[in-house]
Amino acid sequence: MSLISGVISAVDIIGAILMIAFAFMSLRLAMRLVRREPHNIIHAYLMWICIAMAVFAVSRSAVHIIRQSLDLVGNAGAWQFIGPYSGAVNTFTLIVVGAVTLFFEYTWSIYRQILSDKQILQATRGELMDLNENLERRVDERTRALADSERKYREVFEVSRDMILLSDLEGRIFALNPAGYEILGGAADVSAAHIEYCQDFLFRGKDDWKKIVTVIRRRQWLPDMEFDMVNARGEKRRILLSASLVPGPRNDEGRIYFLIKDIEKRRMIKEQMARADKLASIGELSAGIAHEINNPLGIILGYAQLMLREESIPSQRSEDLKTIERHVRTCKVIVEDLLNFARVSPAKKEMNDIHGLIDDVIKFTYYDSGFDRVVIEKDYDPDVKPLFIDEKKIKQVFVNLIVNAKYAMGEKGSIKISTCLNEPDKRVEVRVSDTGCGISEQDMLKIFDPFFTTKPTGVGTGLGLSVSYGIVKNHGGDIQVKSEPGAGAVFTVLLPLEPHHEHIIGWEK
């Protein structure tokens, strides 16, 4: 073998070895790429290319090495046998490598599609994440706004001094605010009275609820209207009611929102003012009449007494004169009562212990016949200090109240007299309550009217309460009465703590 031939053989063998080495090193790298990212189709494709290249390199280069080896060992004839197989395998591997390479475009398009899909998925995921985060933030904001709104309206519901009531069209109560419970007599009483429907305290008459619901359905609302209701304690109260019909949660049934204002106090004040107006008118009229009658009565009484003095022996004439004198005196008492009612006669006020005054009245009346089976209870407030009052006239007030209480009870019963210092209003309250027959609603409006009486003719003049009313008013006070037929009556005399500058003539309205 020449030197040149040897060099060529060496180059051939080295080249073949390098070819195989690079092919398998490439295959190793491709496999590392695949291991790193098993789902990357391009890496898988490169691995297949490298496998084909490795087979190709082996088929081509190994054969070179074998051929050179055969030449070296002097067995070149063997190549005649191996050569065709080598060529065939080499041709086959060429085709395989070429064929695998042709799949690149298809593989690449799949890879691009996967990448595109992946990007779309990531973008979508990002959008979803963003939406999710925003959604949470939005939900948080909406929830906060809803909570604020709920709190605001809850406060309106809770703090309102008027009753807010929600019911269905059947009258079943869904919601009632604290003021509602208060107006109805307190939560405990409402629960005890089993108030579950509006009809339990309102529109209690037969078909009243149906009528009111018909009106609300037709007009969708109800303007301010006055009604009477009976609370859980059975007390009758005047209310101002308005209502609105709103759709129910499922829009398949209506709900009624009621706004109810307790106007009982307002009604009572209006009644008291009306009564005061009436009594003021009567007082002015009575004062005028009393003045006009008082003088002639004085003259008649004076002349009757002069004529009676001239009668030394009893005779029919003297008896007639006595009868005149007696009836004139009765008239004088009535006139004096009328003047007291009209507050024309001035009061002689000085500091008096109200408790001692009441005790004197109790002693005075207790010795009267008929009080044997009547129990008089006293409950004095020790904080009550002496008041600037006309002892005689205030005694007359309590005598009237106790006698009236006794009359209302009949032979047997209990009278309770209590005092109470009302510091905020700067007055003393004296309550005279009895267990008598009570006062009807009809009579309640007239009890302070002069000459109104429920007693038989000749038993009372009907001036007791009106005179008492006038005396108390003359002291800057007031008389209040609470009563129901059959449940006794409570008269409350309110007297001011501080001295009152009275108006001798004229009435306060």
Partner: protein, 142 residues
């Protein structure tokens, strides 16, 4: 009628040509076609690499170089095979498929001698493939 025609055709004695015989230089033709096919696939490969802008990555750039060298290698191989055929024919062998208009020129022997060393093309081609994959792996790792 059809059956009769079938039997007439089957039993008429003549040369059977249905299965083609393979003799002579068919193997060389197949081999050359394989090289052409390899070139075709590599050209397409380069085209796709450029079209897909893969050459922006260094790894694919090396792989493209690899394809170029494989193309050159295939051309080299085709030329060598044709020259071999020419030289065989001149030598009186029967496998020649190409007869150049020159006869036994010394420069043909020189070209043939040089181009027989195809390692100068295929080894760099495989080396660039290795380098390309190496860079791709490095890029993945980074």
């Amino acid at each position: 009628m059809v059956i009769l025609l079938f039997f007439v055709l089957i039993f008429m004695p003549d040369a059977a040509i249905a299965t083609q015989g393979h003799r002579g230089i068919e193997g060389l033709y197949v081999h050359l076609i394989a090289h052409v096919f390899f070139i075709f696939s590599m050209v397409l490969f380069v085209y796709w690499i450029q079209k897909g802008r893969l050459i922006e990555a260094a790894g694919w750039k090396y792989i493209r170089y690899s394809a170029y060298f494989f193309i050159l290698w295939n051309i080299d191989c085709i030329v060598v095979h044709l020259l071999e055929s020419h030289l065989y024919k001149i030598a009186g062998a029967s496998l020649g498929i190409l007869i150049l208009p020159v006869s036994n020129a010394a420069w043909i022997n020189g070209i043939y001698y040089f181009m027989k060393m195809d390692h100068f093309f295929c080894v760099p081609a495989m080396a660039f493939l290795f380098l390309g994959l190496k860079r791709l792996l490095e890029e993945e790792l980074s």
